[in-house]
């Protein structure tokens, strides 16, 4: 096959590319320039958008003997990822920019361009597996080693995108083995540190970065009954589950710490409460997608008394959270998920990825949540 390898300059994508070459594919490397004014050097744990990273990628491609190009996606990235990130925070939600990048850039803008230019698929260094269902439809699965599994951030991929995606690292049990393989292959990035911060926030300080971009207004910190407990300098600087830096003078009734339960951008209020108030009994969203066959075609649904499709699944709400057994129901254009045990610290804007066993069924953006204590009350 004719393959386009997305090379960030890191060790994972370099080894994934090498494996695609070994598998006999006709591989071309491409580095995505996501900023018109890239930083010159890597700093700290950032690791994909600097000139140094693009040179690392170029060197890896050179060693593998494949053509290499840098393609400028900075305009699309700014609009689809950076501006979206700011807008979501401004609206009081907590977005995942890496997922947005996968959804709109790597497996959309880049894949479209690759297909346009005659490529069959895009290969990346993500840890996940693509298999084929009995009817030929692709399925997305967790990586063989769950510790490195990145299927959560790929949950946004659609069936058609999966058809054109390759993840050669999916069945490698550990990152150490990938580094050793890189070393063996003579790749200069074998010992390059992992990246885990948001790539477009240079100092790694999300709150300061947002404060420069979102007009912040001071407002009230209130409890669940609306009683004012303190003041804040901008509700958007708070995230659900946050405990530190609330600056509330009044202690809680039993002296236990309070947590941010909700950021209400409409009223510019930060709602705080007790840890148990963070427990979420139900999450729902209208923006969903299926990676491969949908639940009905997959044959896992039962029809409820009121005529909706319901199925047992596991739900995961963060990249590194544990999946929680749940019941999902497709109801009037909305996916509603009821976990068997309450979810902790869920913010609207987050993505819920739905699994059945190792298979990623699909995902939705959380638009609304129902608190467990609210249900009890």
């Amino acid at each position: 096959m004719k393959i386009l390898a997305a090379m960030s300059g890191g060790v994972d994508s370099a080894v994934a590319t090498a494996r695609a070459v070994d598998a006999g594919h006709d591989v071309t490397g491409v580095h995505l320039a996501l900023s018109r004014m890239p930083g010159l050097f890597r700093s700290g744990s950032r690791g994909c958008c600097t000139v140094e990273d693009s040179l690392d990628a170029r060197r890896a491609a050179g060693l593998l003997g494949i053509p290499f190009y840098v393609w400028d996606f900075s305009a699309q990235f700014t609009e689809a990822v950076v501006d979206d990130f700011i807008a979501e925070y401004a609206a009081g939600r907590t977005p995942n920019p890496c997922m947005r990048c996968n959804e709109r850039i790597k497996f959309a803008a880049l894949l479209d361009k690759a297909i346009d230019l005659g490529f069959d698929a895009v290969v990346t260094g993500h840890y996940a597996n693509v298999t084929t269902a009995a009817d030929g439809t692709p399925e997305l699965h967790r990586a063989s080693a769950w510790a490195k599994d990145q299927s959560y951030v790929l949950g946004v991929l659609t069936t058609d995108q999966l058809r054109h995606s390759m993840f050669p690292l999916g069945d490698t049990p550990s990152k150490t083995l990938v580094r050793e393989e890189a070393e063996r292959r003579g790749l200069s990035v074998a010992n390059k540190p992992d990246s885990h911060d948001i790539c477009f926030i240079p100092e790694g300080d999300t709150r300061d970065w947002l404060a420069e971009r979102i007009p912040m207004e001071s407002g009230d910190i209130v409890d669940t009954d609306g009683k004012v407990l303190g003041h804040h300098d901008g509700a958007q600087a708070y995230t659900v589950g946050q405990r530190k830096g609330l600056g509330i003078g009044v202690p809680s009734a039993d002296g236990r710490p309070r947590f941010v339960l909700e950021v209400k951008s409409a009223t510019n209020e930060v709602v705080v409460g007790m840890k148990e108030d963070l427990d979420i009994a139900e999450i729902a969203g209208e923006r969903f997608s299926w990676a491969g066959n949908d639940p009905v075609i997959s044959g896992i649904t039962v029809v409820t008394d009121d005529g909706f499709d319901e199925f047992a699944c596991e739900v995961q709400i963060r990249a590194h959270a544990d999946p929680v057994p749940a019941i999902a129901i497709s109801r009037g254009g909305e996916i509603v998920v009821t976990p068997n045990e309450p979810l902790n610290g869920v913010a609207t804007g987050q993505t819920a990825v739905i699994y059945v066993g190792t298979r990623v069924l699909g995902q939705f953006t959380i638009d609304r949540t129902v608190s467990a204590t609210a249900l009890v009350n």
Partner: protein, 385 residues
């Protein structure tokens, strides 16, 4: 694989490679006093003589640098300091006597960024002289902007992107009247247009060896003795305006390349023009929306620069590369990222026009041009949105 990117760098002829490998076997430092040193020195001198001859300059007026970019930096910064005095030589807080630098917005980054640095670090003022839609400098505007407070004029003799040749003698005549030194970036001129530095009235002229089949890492600045220039690089004083050990092998090879490139400019230019015209005619016949950029007659022979509305240059260059044709978009890259061309913008060309630059050399053949023309329309159609 056919190569149409001579303006980026040009292949070394066997004669040049032989000269380099011959000279690189020498072991003496060209500034050493023993006979080994003397042998290296002779190689270096012979190389510089040939470089000087290729641009009509006296050898001693030619400073060999590590690149064309360094030559341009030395000319612009060196002249600026020479005209204004170094900061330490001026009274604290005293204004610069000649802060203005006249140039155009269609220059190479080597000049633009050196000037930008002077603006940021030394308080220079850059004054852009207008260029027209062919990239040709507006002489009336230049005349109006010249004055006592101008440190220097610098421009490209031949525009590296669109190939337009500037009216050099008119520029020099205007500057001479105002008693202002002129530096020309002749990196894209050497080997294509005859250069006679001594007769030109220029203060400085920069060239680069790898654009004419010489090695990368050898540039040269011819500098008139009439203008004081402050060096950039200090050390062992191996040259009047530059320190650093003399690169005997590189300069010897560059000399051979310069000699070859200028031995028969008229015949070479005629051959390149014919190839270029074949390409341009072919493009016009098959891609009606393509517009030839740059001046139609005052242009360097090997340059065919076209823009096509809606063309995604990056995709077109990828498809060309895949089909075995090396070309470029003409504009500068940072870490491989193509930026919209500041040269085209200065000429008033919209960013929606996708550029393709083919720069030809003597090794190109009519068959290669025809093979390119065979695939180009399909590639352009695929890469146009």
């Amino acid at each position: 694989m056919a190569y149409f990117d001579y303006a980026a760098t040009s292949p070394m002829h066997d004669d040049v490679i032989d000269a380099w490998t011959h000279a690189v076997h020498l072991r003496g430092n060209a500034s050493a006093t023993h006979r080994d040193g003397q042998k290296s020195r002779l190689m270096w001198e012979e190389g510089r003589d040939k470089i000087a001859a290729s641009i009509g300059a006296l050898p001693f007026d030619v400073t060999v640098t590590g690149s064309g970019t360094e030559a341009i930096n030395l000319a612009i910064k060196g002249l600026f300091w020479g005209r204004n005095g170094t900061p330490a030589s001026r009274e604290i807080g005293a204004p610069l006597p000649r802060p203005r630098i006249l140039t155009t917005e269609a220059e190479h980054h080597a000049a633009l960024d050196a000037i930008h640095w002077l603006v940021e670090a030394e308080g220079a003022i850059v004054d852009f002289v207008r260029v027209d839609d062919t990239g040709t400098i507006d002489l009336g505007d230049l005349a109006a902007k010249l004055g006592d407070d101008v440190a220097l004029v610098t421009t490209l003799w031949t525009n590296n992107e669109v190939g337009t040749i500037q009216p050099v003698s008119e520029i020099v005549a205007l500057a001479e009247k105002a008693n202002v030194p002129v530096h020309l970036d002749a990196v894209a001129t050497l080997g294509y247009t005859p250069i006679d530095f001594a007769q030109s009235g220029l203060a400085g002229l920069s060239v680069s060896a790898h654009k004419i089949g010489g090695p990368v890492g050898v540039g040269a600045l011819a500098m008139s003795r009439s203008w004081p220039v402050v060096p950039l690089i200090h050390g062992g004083s191996q040259q009047r305006l530059r320190s650093g050990s003399l690169d005997a092998a590189g300069v010897f090879a560059a000399g051979v390349a310069a000699e070859r490139a200028t031995a028969d400019i008229a015949a070479n230019a005629a051959r390149l023009s014919a190839l270029r015209d074949r390409l341009v005619t072919g493009i016009r016949a098959t891609i009606p929306t393509a517009v030839l950029r740059g001046h139609h007659s005052n242009r360097t022979p090997g340059n065919a620069h076209v823009t096509i509305p809606g063309l995604d240059s990056v995709s077109a260059l990828f498809l060309l590369d895949e089909a075995g044709h090396a070309a470029s978009a003409g504009s500068a890259c940072q870490a491989g990222v193509q930026s919209p061309s500041h040269v085209l913008r200065a000429m008033g060309v919209a960013d929606s026009e996708g550029p393709l630059r083919f720069t030809l050399g003597l090794e190109n053949s009519e068959a290669e041009i025809d093979a390119l023309l065979e695939v180009l329309p399909t590639i352009v159609a695929r890469a146009t949105h």
